[in-house]
């Protein structure tokens, strides 16, 4: 014996400890991976030993390896073992490993509940401490629910060390189990006045965190916090409190006044910059102070100053705008973080007046910028700034277009599509600019080779997409359409991405139409004939394109052009008809338009169109619904050839309709229009832009020209105005002369250079103006928006101890209620539950009668006038021996149902999992009660040993029916049918893996034939997928391979063939009995249809 122990410790001496491992890894720099894999093998050996010290050492090493990026999830169970050691040394290591490696889907977490509970109540405060620390990292909703009460008790522990940890972890518990917030809150509030400063600051932290998300519920705490703020000297706590007040003041303006004094005191007295920053941030009273921050040489303060500025900008834009110089200066900073913040600020600072100037400055930066990321950021910012609020700040769209054109010269930017969409948007919506835009785009197309130097890495060629479309669509504005057409048909175009080529091809046709039309009057038809010839010469290149879209369009247009050529040779006038192909105008549609279509009165989208189908039919329907998408859409009506007249007629009718429709938004009465109507504007001469400005030199920035022109224009305008004003003043001499001093021009004075008419994007008629699009429904903090001042109801007490069967319950509230609530259950909650699935309502079955899973959905439904229940049996993927039965109980009578007990007579093979300490024949209490008409779901876990045979289990459900005056005890018998199918789990499988599996030769085969199956093949497959949990691996014509896996890892492969009402299924599986039973079940499914 003694020898064995000595041997054990000698062995251990030879084990590597953590230090050895680290040293070893450092010494094996060249073959680290190999070294580590031997280490992992050693660790695996160590984990197999019984000695907990060895195990702990192994787990410690694993934690280190996990940090290096190695997967150690396989050791999760060993970690739990080490956690449960009674020695603090090992427990500490175990919890550390768990906090590093566990996450919500780690399945062994389920096993830790009792261990953690034990540690929480340990007499040793450090045991409790490590448990709390560990739990804070991996708490799951289940753990939170089960342990909430224990942790709440710990908040009043005698040791402050435990109290503060318990308080902190409560926040995590609230997040995972919101129901605990109300019951735990009074105690949390108490902790704000805890004698220990650590506990106090922990409580402040947690409440701050809660209040920031839902401030209105915490207003009542303001006086308490006020007291803390004036008395506390701990800067860490003060910062949090001030932050909290920052969240509360918007809701209670009076607070602001009260806060000014203590805050200014703090600002003047504190030496801590962090505290000062927080104060300034909250009060936002002194932008000047921020200027000091930004001008500071400390980069950190500069950054924070800018950040705070952007907050002030939202409320007081005027005060920030005066610091424009400083912010622009920050754009030159070498630090990218700071530059980006400055950019954000610029976004909010632009006005009509300074937009051009700011963008000019930004363009300079674009040229200078080194990294492409920063340059791209600049580019998006420029576009953001210009396009914000519907181009509100742009007074000169020619300038904007030229800015966009200049931006196209950026090499290697990823934002080509952004520029393109801006070009399209502006050209479509600003009618006045079209002629100019078209000219610019034509130049761009002509110089396309400059952009597309390297199409592979160049995102900028997206711009050509826009250019081609604009030139085509608005070709009537083109000065020299023939030249553009030639540019668009160059062979080089074929190197562009497919979708761009497609647009090119389509738009050459539009250009072609325009040219024909313009030449129509000409007696000399050579130009049109030449153009036609050009089309016929060049288009074949695109007909050969590998891109389907390009090919299709090109060949279509080529045929059309050839036909036109024939007509031309016969001297037939064709221009009219050709251009009619592209007549009509596109209106921009708002991106949200579809969503905003209001539901007409009287239309209920949730209502059934036909009577809801009965149960069995609905199952037939479902697979159809799954597969309809796959069906090839032959049925789509072909576009019938509509002759020209008809088209014109329709167009006319549509125009008529639009004109008569009061809701049709054409050229909207946007804010811009005001300028047109405003008196006086007409007198302002619109400066004609001289287009001889060297637009043709693509290398030269020209937006500057516009800045200058714009300046001049504004000057002139001002002069004009002054003149007018003088006149006016002369007229009314008696007026107070000084008042009209023309200081710096105000926003409103700047008129746009063009009669700009920004077409609003179309919205459906009666669109609802709601703007709730941006709320995130998944925010976990939403659940914590709970009124905390309401008195606590009995039903809200935390569950003291809940049993495992109810673990996966959908709504933990019910669970909690059921265990604590007295017989007078509050009825309020019941309405909530009504949304529970109410399927299968129509199916009536006599009391106590058995419906085995005839329909193979594994539904057992019973009703006896009181209660109705449906259940669904499903294997548990994580545990090969577990089956979860979800049961939906619905109360069909008008009485209250309570004390429901679910019991099943265990067989040798299948057992109902019961909570610890209960006997093998005890029933499980259903963890809720049912008011009339309410349904709820409970899950029961069964352990199953062998899954190769189907099973039937007898069970009973007992419950009490409670009326106002009496209560009776009722009993309901049922049978649960565990089919073999219920052990299968839909698992996708790739065809190569599938082939390997079949080749391996480990599988036994078997086959069946089904006669007289009269359904389409895809329905048949869908049916197998749906009812028997298979997935299709591959399908070729009337033959398909399918795959599924059992919860114990058996592979089941099917080869399904069909010919004339006969279906043959060849199947392979590593377990012949299981396979036989599954096939029988499949046969049964089809025999019923």
């Amino acid at each position: 014996m003694a020898l064995k122990i000595v041997k054990g410790s000698i062995d251990r001496m030879f084990d590597k400890n953590l230090q050895d491992l680290v040293r070893g890894i450092r010494n094996h720099k060249d073959d680290e991976a190999k070294y580590i894999s031997t280490c992992i093998d050693e660790i695996k050996q160590e984990l197999k030993q019984d000695n907990i010290a060895v195990k702990a050492n192994a787990v410690c090493k694993l934690t280190y390896l996990q940090m290096l990026g190695y997967d150690v999830s396989w050791a999760a169970f060993n970690i739990v073992e080490v956690m449960s050691s009674s020695k603090f040394t090992y427990k500490r290591i175990g919890y550390l490993a768990a906090s590093q490696c566990f996450h919500e889907s780690t399945d062994v977490i389920m096993l830790t509940t009792n261990q953690i509970r034990k540690d929480l109540s340990s007499p040793n405060q450090y045991d409790t401490g490590v448990a709390l620390t560990g739990l804070s990292c991996f708490v799951t909703p289940d753990l939170a629910r089960d342990l909430a009460n224990d942790i709440m008790t710990l908040m009043s522990h005698t040791k402050p060390y435990i109290r503060k940890k318990a308080v902190l972890i409560m926040y995590k518990v609230f997040l995972k189990y919101p129901e605990s917030l109300r019951p735990a809150f009074p105690r949390l509030k108490e902790k704000l006045e805890d004698p220990d400063p650590g506990v106090q600051s922990a409580a402040v932290n947690v409440i701050c965190e809660l209040a920031r998300r839902n401030p209105k519920n915490y207003l009542s705490l303001a006086p308490l916090f006020f007291k803390l703020m004036t008395s506390s000297t701990n800067n860490w706590v003060l910062i949090k409190i001030i932050k909290l007040f920052g969240a509360l003041t918007p809701l209670e303006p009076r607070l602001g006044k009260k806060l000014i004094e203590p805050l200014t005191n703090l600002i003047h007295s504190t030496s801590a910059m962090s505290l000062l920053y927080e104060c300034v941030n909250t009060v936002i009273l002194c932008v000047q102070k921020l200027r000091i921050l930004i001008e500071d040489s400390d980069q950190n303060l500069k950054y924070l100053g800018l950040l705070a500025m952007s907050k002030i900008l939202k409320t007081h834009p005027k005060s920030v705008q005066s610091h424009k110089d400083l912010i622009l200066q920050c754009l030159d900073d070498k630090d990218e973080s700071i530059r980006l913040r400055a950019l954000d600020l610029l976004y909010g600072m632009v006005s009509k007046k300074n937009l051009m100037e700011i963008v000019k400055k930004l363009m300079l930066h674009v040229d200078k910028a080194e990294g492409t990321t920063y340059r791209d950021e600049l580019l998006t910012k420029i576009i953001d700034i210009c396009s914000q609020s519907n181009y509100q700040y742009i007074t000169n769209f020619e300038w904007y277009i030229s800015i966009l054109v200049e931006l196209t010269r950026l090499e290697g930017t990823r934002h080509g599509h952004l520029i393109a969409s801006q070009m399209l948007d502006v050209a479509i919506r600003v009618k006045a600019i079209r002629a100019f835009a078209v000219a610019q785009m034509a130049t761009l197309l002509d110089n396309a080779h400059l952009l597309t130097g390297n199409t592979q890495r160049n995102g900028i060629c997206e711009v050509l997409y826009a250019a081609a479309w604009i030139c085509g669509e608005f070709s009537e504005h083109l000065e020299n359409p023939a030249q553009t057409l030639e540019a668009m048909l160059r062979p080089k175009v074929a190197t562009l991405p497919g979708h761009i080529q497609a647009v090119y091809v389509q738009n050459t046709a539009k250009l072609f139409a325009t040219i024909l039309k313009s030449q129509e009057g000409n007696a000399d038809g050579t130009t049109s004939e030449e153009t036609t010839q050009l089309m016929i010469d060049r288009l074949p290149l695109f007909v050969q394109s590998a891109n389907l879209e390009v090919q299709e369009r090109a060949s279509c247009i080529l045929q059309l052009v050839k036909y036109i050529q024939k007509l031309q040779q016969k001297d037939v006038e064709v221009a009219e008809e050709v251009s009619a192909l592209f007549a009509g105008e596109l209106n921009p549609v708002a991106p949200k338009a579809q969503k905003k279509v209001p539901v007409p009165e009287g239309l209920d989208l949730d209502a059934w169109i036909n009577e809801p189908p009965s149960e069995s039919e609905s199952e037939d329907e479902q697979p159809k619904a799954i597969f309809t998408k796959e069906e090839p859409k032959h049925s789509r009506p072909r576009h019938t050839e509509v002759d020209e007249k008809e088209l014109a007629k329709r167009r006319e009718a549509r125009k008529q309709e639009q004109a008569n429709n009061p809701f049709y938004i054409k050229a909207s009465p946007s804010s811009q229009k005001v300028y047109q109507d405003a008196p006086g504007v007409e007198h302002i001469p619109v400066v004609q832009i001289d287009l001889s400005v060297p637009l043709k030199v693509p290398g030269l920035p020209m937006s500057d020209q516009y800045v200058k022109l714009e300046e001049e224009r504004r000057q002139k305008e001002r002069a004009e105005k002054k003149k007018k004003e003088k006149k006016k003043r002369k007229e009314k001499r008696s007026g107070r002369g000084k008042k009209h001093d023309s200081g710096p021009e105000s926003e409103e004075d700047i008129t746009p250079a063009h009669m700009v008419d920004i077409v609003t994007e179309e919205m459906p008629e009666n669109a609802l103006p709601s703007d709730e699009d941006d709320k995130d429904p998944n925010d976990p903090h939403k659940a914590l928006d709970i009124d905390l001042d309401k008195p606590l109801a009995d039903s809200e007490k935390l569950p003291v101890r809940s049993h495992r069967a109810a673990e996966a319950l959908k709504s933990p509230v019910e669970d909690a209620e059921a265990e604590n609530a007295g017989p007078q259950e509050s009825k309020k909650k019941s309405s909530k539950d009504k949304k529970e699935k109410k399927k299968d309502k129509d199916r009536k079955v006599d009391a106590g009668n058995l419906i085995t899973s005839t329909d193979l959905l594994h539904l057992v439904s019973l009703t006896d006038g009181f209660l109705f229940f449906v259940c669904d049996i499903q294997g548990n993927l994580q545990d090969g021996s577990q089956v979860v039965v979800s049961v939906i109980f619905e109360n069909k009578c008008s009485s209250f149902l309570k004390s429901m007990e679910f019991n099943v007579l265990d067989s040798l093979n299948s057992k109902l999992q019961r909570p610890e300490g209960s006997g093998p024949h005890d029933g499980l209490t259903v963890p809720f009660q049912l008011p009339p008409g309410v349904s709820n779901e409970a899950r029961f876990v069964f352990t199953v040993q062998s899954i190769v045979m189907p099973q039937k289990l007898k069970g009973t459900l007992t419950f009490i029916v409670k009326n106002e005056d009496s209560s009776t005890h009722e009993k309901l018998d049922f049978k649960l049918h565990f089919t073999c199918t219920s052990y299968l789990i839909t698992t996708p499988c790739y065809s190569d893996a599938f082939a390997k599996l079949l080749e391996s030769g480990d599988l036994k085969s078997s086959s069946i034939r089904l006669e007289g199956v009269n359904m389409p093949f895809h329905h048949l497959l869908a049916r197998i997928c749906f009812h028997h949990h298979f997935s299709v691996v591959e399908r070729i014509d009337s033959c398909a391979s399918m795959y599924s896996r059992s919860i114990q890892g058996h592979h089941v492969c099917l080869l399904v063939k069909t010919s004339a009402q006969t279906v043959s299924i060849d199947a392979k599986c590593d377990e012949p009995t299981l396979l036989g039973n599954v096939l029988d079940e499949i046969k049964q499914t089809f025999s019923q249809c």
């Binding site: 940090m67 550390l96 996450h103 932290n205 070498k334 700071i338």
Partner: protein
Amino acid sequence: MMRFLLLFSRQGRLRLQKWFTPMTEREKKKIIRDMTTLVLARQPRSCNFIQWKDLKIIYKRYASLYFCLGVENQENELLALEVIHRYVELLDKYFGNVCELDIIFNFEKAYFILDEFLMGGEIQETSKQMVNRSIEASDMLQEDDSSEWYEVELFG
């Protein structure tokens, strides 16, 4: 609330990672990769803050080690810097003139110290003395444990 704390070397080798919210391995790896590339690319004498997705990243370099803290958007950056600094002070106090190797070879100690200072993404204890005291006490307990264990091994 703080989301994570990472320590890594100039070469981008991770030395310590603490996640205050549960995350899958994949998410963790992605964040680690992003953080190291982002932080290591920063020029000296830049500010210590980076905006990354919806988080604020606050980092600071101490000798060869980078301390990188990810906090939620409403947090105070300077406070986060203080947190980093306080942690370094605690390490320094515990190891005595701490260096990167101390953290590599005693990485579990580094975690234990952190666990006494921060918890669940919040500051747990603002007093240095208190943190030191509880770490010492736990270590004492651990030594008791191991000596006891040796007795059992040798004479049991």
